[in-house]
Symmetry: none
DNA sequence: GATGAATGAGAGTTCATTCAT
DNA sequence: TATGAATGAACTCTCATTCAT
């Protein structure tokens, strides 16, 4: 068992090291050497697990995307049982999503995707399909429930979800200088509040 | 004079060729050879004009960014003299901005920026500062005027501008698969209308 | 015992697999991996039997050389008891030798020797000494007996043997394109007859 | 012109260096590094002239084969105007051929051919066709003339040529240990005399 | 000023060989 | 004993960059 365990650990270490180095240097600049060093193994060991630098890249991307997605999905949980104060719940979710959108891994993943789209057109399928799309859909589901129970007045939950995410993350890009600048937690809360405010103004039920 | 002219032309050809090739292959994959070929000159000629591959990249990026910015600024012109139908004017501007955001050069520029942020931290200053920031500011100016004349009810034109752009371009990313997929013109118009609709609902003056 | 048996079998399998692969790819191109696969064992097992790739090569060569030599020696048997028609006997032996010289293993062995002479100068001692030399000597012995009994008129059986082999195998090289082209059996017979004819004309007793 | 000259010189140096190193180490063991060093140029320069290590090998082989062939053809010249003593002329030619067959380049060429036949099946076409075949044909032509003028009694000059070469070079292989051992000049002369003697005994006109 | 030729440095990939099981 | 996994060393080939023309 320990053998298998060791092998799995090494594979994991390689994938994580690969993502780290790719994120730091970009695909082309990152050397397999560097990745091996980061993972604490020898270069050929990398090739024993992955056939290619390209394959390594794809797998590293996929693993990171999986993690990122599940974190974001988890952030939607509060919407499943919103308290009396819908706006507060939305702000809570919004803040959490913002926080996740600005963390290291998320930014790196986005950057890597953008940079290598042309070289790895198929990487999009690995990441996008199981990424934003699924998140949007999950969010739309929640919003649909809220609409059904009369707490939102949209008839197009997909659109509402899309615009919620747009209002939330759109400003992020400029403020973080495309993910290069950290942003204070309080500013993050403000952004969440602002976005929710506009969202509610546009889609919220005018409670008398 | 013709010599000087030829020199300028060559410089221009090199910059454009560079941007084309960088966009196609990314910074690291693009060879100076390829760029020289694309520009129709010999490799050392490139070095006679630019000291470095890095310098070449920066200049090519800068030139492209200038073009992109001026196009976008021009798209805001209708807002200077909006007709009676504000919504229609906004939709017109929105559509034009969307069109510009989805064209080849814009997408390539964005991709290149994302990919090389870590390698060229200073490229952001060249592009961002004279890019989205200035566009946002110009848009905010227009919106402020509209607010002053009572046609919008915001007191924070910067925020309004930011959210206008967010509602507009946020959905773009998913729909064009990060710029890799073309999008039909009619869909573009729908997106413009949808964004403006929500924007007006949130910020428009409730005309009785 | 079965263990010992299995071990011996494995050793044999490794040696044969090694020769096969070396013959197919050459020493340097042949991977120990390939050899292990051909022999149906794992790579380290090869190293359990042979210390080195080089050692493996030497042993494989030696084994093949032994086989080849014994086959050729056996082909000389008819000369021990030549019938009345000496020419016919010679042709028979000649044909058999030619056949052996053109078979797969012989050609491969020759090729391997030539290719790795510089890398394995000692391989010559393993193969040559117990190869052509011994064959030549055996043939010379037979011819000496024939001379003694008056059926050949040479006084230098070594020379006669050498020239017999030369006349026989010299044309082979060109006709088989250095062993790459198969040759029809009838052509083989013709070549045997032609060589013997000339040999007899030069060395045969002018039977009145 | 000097530029062109320099380029040609370098190309020549590379080809010669390549042949030298390939001969010394074999195709697979020879590093492009080594070849470049031998030629006195940098590694990439080799790649500027030849696309591949394989291409380099082919060209080097071809060049060497051309040289070897022309030398051997020149050795046949005396047969064009044989003096009164045909045997002497034949011995002279035979000796020269032997000498050429035992020189460094010839042996190396043969070794390289044998070693890489499987990897470079087309190399045979480059070398053989313009090699032994043409030599055999040229020799056959000379012998045909001699037969016509009544100084040989063969009716099959091709066969005679083939056997002449066989008698000459067949013993060479064993005596030089496949080209690894030098051979004294006097032994070379003896071998030439012996071969011619047998040849004349078989094909020569029985001068009364 | 523009170019063909040359190069130093370095990348990905493979392989013979060795532990640990 | 036989093997899966790991590694150090080496190799082919590429590229940004610089002379000499």
């Amino acid at each position: 068992m320990s053998t298998t365990r060791g092998r799995i650990d090494k594979r994991q270490a390689i994938l994580e090291g690969a993502f780290t180095v790719f994120a730091r240097l970009g695909y082309a600049q990152a050397g397999v050497q560097d990745i091996a060093a980061e993972a604490g193994v020898a270069k050929p060991t990398v090739y024993n697990h992955m056939t290619d630098k390209a394959t390594l890249f794809r797998h590293a991307l996929e693993a990171a995307a999986r993690t990122v997605l599940s974190e974001r999905l988890a952030a939607l949980d509060p919407l499943a049982a919103p308290g009396d104060d819908l706006t507060a719940t939305l702000e809570c979710v919004a803040y959490e999503l913002l926080r996740l959108h600005t963390d290291q891994r998320s930014c790196s993943l986005k950057r890597l995707l953008y940079s290598e789209i042309t070289t790895f057109p198929d990487a999009l399928d690995l990441v996008l399909d199981s990424g934003p799309h699924r998140l949007n859909q999950a969010l739309a589901d929640r919003l649909a429930r809220l609409a059904l129970s009369g707490r939102l007045r949209t008839t197009d939950p997909d659109l509402a979800a899309e615009q919620f995410m747009a209002l939330l993350t759109g400003p992020l890009e400029a403020r973080t200088r495309m993910g290069t600048q950290q942003i204070t937690d309080s500013e993050l809360r403000t952004m969440a509040r602002t976005a929710v405010e506009t969202f509610v103004r546009a889609w919220g039920h005018p409670e008398p």
